[in-house]
Symmetry: C2
Subunit: 186 residues, 2 copies
């Protein structure tokens, strides 16, 4: 299983298509969670070369610079981070690397027609030899067209709640626990 | 159920007792998660008055300042945030507010003698009229004496993993989902 953090095209609070900036703590928190749950790769997708340079600078500090020697845990976490300009590039790279079809599963705060239950995907991940790429949006989330282009959309995290504004860092952590976490609920 | 984010006495990477600084995104992410899962109160515990002033400034911006009008979701999330100088102060306040005994449940990356399973606490929360306060450490986690002074310690999040370095923001999110989340696993 792979995850991707998307920055374009995202919705702003009015629903317009925007490009969001990279958030330093997204990289740290999500890389650490990905390593904890043994995700095969964490793709940061951003269309701007300058943001790629920023990501590389952050990763380099924690891999080769002082951060890496002070805190080897971060070096290990960032080893699974990859950068792409587009989602298509990330998909092509995973496909080339694994030789498997890549199925895309979006996440959103609301239910969709192609909703898949976390429990179903958890079972598929254990049985199905295909590669699954779970997509996480930033800003106010993914655009309707992007959601429609995915193979599935995961069920919202807390559909019963009257408040659906988790940070993407929280959402990734919770979905990884639901999809790949140990059987704490048995 | 209540949660507390502790900043003293915490361990540094060598195990020494230290006071950690408040991290802005801890307040945001944890307040949003607490609101999503309908936690009764989120206590930020710090011994330094200057850090209290910083927390209040952040909260005020998102409640009364521009942040609150631009993003009312944050205002709602921060409405559940409280500040205390010590854990004892937070406990006394919850006790006075609810008239119930407050049971403390620590969290740690390692198993302990008084470990409680997430599933057991989940059931207790549904049946038991007492108040539960879940404690989260910052830095390299809570000191052994602090853990020993709690009523229980929750099982580690991913005991099967060879990597146990989640951010506190991730850990809080995952524990809230396991303890209070909807029944996605049935």
């Amino acid at each position: 299983m792979y995850i991707a953090l998307l920055h374009y095209p995202m919705r702003n609070k009015n629903g317009d298509a925007i490009t969001t900036s990279v958030t330093n703590l997204d990289l740290h928190d999500i890389a650490r969670a990905a390593r904890t749950y043994d995700v095969d790769g964490f793709w940061v997708v951003h269309p701007a070369a300058k943001q790629h340079a920023l990501i590389k600078e952050i990763v380099r500090y924690w891999q080769e610079g002082y951060g890496g020697s002070y805190n080897p845990d971060r070096r290990e976490a960032f080893a699974r981070l990859h950068i792409a300009y587009t989602l298509e590039e990330a998909i092509a790279s995973i496909q080339a690397q694994t030789g498997r079809t890549v199925l895309t599963v979006a996440t959103d705060a609301f239910p969709h027609a192609k909703t898949m239950r976390c429990l179903d995907l958890r079972h598929r991940l254990q049985e199905d030899p295909q590669a699954y790429l779970i997509l996480f949006g930033t800003g106010w989330g993914m655009q309707a067209e992007s959601l429609a282009a995915c193979d599935w959309v995961l069920e919202p995290i807390q559909a019963v709640s009257d408040y659906n504004h988790l940070s993407v860092r929280s959402a990734v952590s919770i979905f990884l626990d639901r999809l790949l976490g140990e059987d704490w609920f048995i």
